[in-house]
Amino acid sequence: MFEYLLRRLASIVPTLVFVSMLIFGLQQLLPGDPAKILAGEEQDPSVIAYLHKKLHLDEPLPMRYAYWIGGVLRGDFGESVRSQEPVLDLVLEKLPVTAELALLAMGIALVIGIPAGIVSAVGRGTVWDAAANLFALWGISTPNFWLGILMILLFSVQLGWLPASGYVSPFEDWRANLAAMIMPAFVLGNAIAAVLMRHTRSAMLQVLSSDYVRTARAKGLSEPVVVLRHALRNALTPIITLGALELGTLLSGAVLTEQVFTIPGFGKLIIDSVFNRDYAVVQGVVLVTASAYIALSLLADLAYFAVNPRLRT
């Protein structure tokens, strides 16, 4: 296991180097001169020339990559050309917001998705199964953007129970923070719960029909023990993989949901930066989210060991 872990850790470095090159290189394919879009309405030629120089836009690509990666290694991610804020500050400012939203959404998804999947698999063909499937179909096919706006109209405009948008730090006021986060977290979690439910259901169905479950039942174990301790544990591996992937996606920012609820997270930051051709910000954010993704897949691998003793040898 340790050897495996070391191998995985060693592979992270070349992966990150490759990712950084990809982020940098792909961004250059975006059409449009960033200096022109940053120069704003006036399009003053002297401003465009100044921005070219400042952003090293006239230098060869490898040189520009070297400037950037050199800075990153020194802990300097550059600064946003649009707002003049250091990229690292922006990332550190948005990361907790996005992380909170991602964890809340994942929590909601797990709490709804896994029990629904179990109920649906155990009670296959019953009303419960049909209800869980209907819920999954609804969750998968409802666009987040639309559901978000409908929730705002109902809970904020009509009923006035929750704020329509905005973000309050939990350290300032945790109640206001929860009130602001519950709707976006539900919108995001709902969609993932549906996917999780489908996967839990199919994994459970497969496991429930295997020999050892029959043996467990034959031994006279109670149904909850058979389902939760014996079956679920083995069915969890694909669900962990899926959960880690979904969490990674959430951490890279839920663009539309963040737009609707005005949650100042990665999604909003990255989309605005792409449209404004604010390269340093895009690079910084993508690098951080890519690292988070890699870390999560490593954690998922470790979780396999935890739930499945057979892998530990």
Partner: protein, 500 residues
């Protein structure tokens, strides 16, 4: 009874505490908050509460005093002497005097990356005549100067703070406006706080102002309706009818100083010559005659626009009356196309992904088809479309301009040879001569005559087919009073008051 009274008092106190912050929903997140470097329209909305200018514009676009109480042109119109308002201090307590004005104008002119250089180009030097009198010396008379001083070029920054912060001043701007900068969380909020040393303190009725950018118009409106905001800008025209029935809200509509138009490639690249639209003025005239501007305004803008055919709206004193808005005439358009030898000209109309621009392109396509045009629509994200326009990689381009208070700001850079915003590639020596004259002529009547001559040339060549002038649409809490409808589309916060 006692309990009821207490509850009522607490409620009133809560309402009062609430009313002390003015919460504004913006359509975009502003760029850097440094008046010298700033580039976006939305940033000017925040500046309007934070940084006073030497002069301001009023509802009729007249230049009125702000930090300068009076001004005088020299006889040769090559020097502008301004009297500075006494007793004004910056938000950090530093005194605002003639030396500070000189510092700011020089900063605008010399700072690397300054976006104000073009607006102040003819200003060659600034003299401090006495602590409250400053003289701007010009290399040549420059009629648009006062309008520029009514915008970011006229904003005076605190010299000590600006010198200390250098190019990071935008992160902690210090000006002489009614509200001072407190904090900014990118894409979340900009918070300003009342400056107690403001020269017109009596006009300030809020303790704080909070700006929150929400790009989606539906969500912005939902926030206003749920009481999260007191005021929102750029309401979607399709929401206005329902809003006007809502007694809790008020709507303001102001005809913009900018325009919506279609820029035609008449000489930007070789592509202009390969297409009948760019090559032949008769085809462009036919194109314009095939358009029904009122129909466009109705379908695209829900009638929240004033139709027009020039760089300024028909209500502007500088509108050239010799060139009125042409009526739709499909028969004449067809005849012109026949005379040009292309009965079915085909071209590509480039638009950004903005929904109103796309709607506009579709309606133009349908209208001009009746005259025989075959318009193909090409959609590209804004930065990409702008880049294509700059390279001349287009036949026609749907492009709007936010406008400037002086007509020069809507015209010079668009129609002067090789000017930065001249995407059409229009270049005419006579027009250039007239444009130069329009800048040095300070008498409004004489200037108007020059604009009539320019209109006669430019509107016949049609590098831009002007369609209409959109309404700035604002919606706000009906209890909010003192909202001034100034055509630059920027909310003035002084005088705003929330009824309990």
């Amino acid at each position: 009874m006692k309990r009821t009274l207490l509850a009522a008092m607490m409620f009133a106190a809560a309402a009062l505490a609430q009313a002390q912050t003015l919460r504004i929903g913006l359509a975009e997140d502003p760029d850097v908050l440094d008046p010298t470097l700033a580039r976006s329209f939305v940033g000017r909305i925040v500046f309007a509460a934070m940084c006073d200018k030497l002069v301001d514009v009023d509802e009729k676009l007249n230049i009125v005093p702000q930090l300068a109480t009076s001004w005088q042109w020299s006889a040769d119109h090559k020097a502008l002497t301004m009297k500075i308002r006494p007793g004004v201090t910056f938000q950090d307590g530093e005194k605002l005097d003639a030396a500070a004005v000189k510092y700011s104008i020089e900063r605008h002119k010399t700072m690397p990356g300054s976006n104000r250089r073009g607006e102040l180009a003819p200003v060659s030097s600034v003299d401090v005549l006495d602590p409250l009198t400053v003289r701007l010396n010009l290399s040549a008379p420059f009629a648009p100067l006062l309008a520029a001083l009514a915008d970011r070029a006229g904003m005076i920054v605190a010299p000590k703070a600006a010198a200390a912060e250098g190019d990071k001043f935008g992160a902690h701007p210090v000006c002489a406006g009614p509200y001072k900068f407190v904090e900014r969380v990118a894409q979340d909020r900009i918070t300003l706080e009342r400056y107690d040393g403001y020269w017109d303190k009596a006009a300030l009725h809020f303790d704080k102002i909070e700006y929150t950018p929400i790009p989606d118009a539906t969500v912005r409106l939902a926030n206003l309706k749920s009481g999260q905001f007191d005021f929102i800008e750029r309401v979607a025209p399709s929401d206005i009818a329902a809003l006007e029935k809502d007694k809790k809200l008020k709507v303001a509509r102001i005809t913009e100083i900018g325009y919506q138009g279609i820029t035609i490639n008449v000489g930007k690249s070789a592509r202009a010559q390969s297409n009948p639209l760019g090559r032949d003025a008769r085809v462009r005239e036919a194109f314009e005659l095939a358009l029904d501007r009122h129909g466009l305004a109705q379908v695209v803008m829900d009638n929240e626009a004033t139709v027009g055919n020039q760089w300024v709206a028909p209500t502007s004193p500088y509108y050239a009356k010799n060139m009125p808005v042409p009526q739709r005439n499909v028969a004449k358009a067809k005849a012109l196309l026949k005379a040009a030898g292309v009965e079915h000209p085909s071209f590509t109309l480039l638009t950004s992904t903005a929904s109103d621009a796309q709607r506009l392109a579709l309606v133009v396509q349908a209208m001009t088809r009746e005259a025989g045009f075959d318009v193909k629509i090409q959609t590209a994200e804004f930065a990409t479309s702008l880049n294509m326009a700059d390279k001349g990689d287009f036949d026609a381009y749907v492009l709007a301009w936010s406008g400037r208070a002086d007509p020069d700001g809507n015209l010079f850079s668009f129609d002067g040879c090789k000017q930065p915003l001249n995407y059409a590639g229009y270049c005419d020596a006579e027009t250039d001569k007239l444009l130069a004259q329009s800048r040095t002529e300070l008498d409004p009547a004489a200037r108007k005559k020059i604009y009539e001559q320019i209109a006669a040339r430019v509107l016949a060549a049609r590098p831009i087919v002007y369609l209409y002038h959109r309404n700035w649409l604002w919606a706000y809490d009906a209890k909010l009073s003192g909202v001034r409808e100034i055509p630059d589309g920027l909310l003035r916060v002084a005088g705003l008051k929330m009824a309990p």
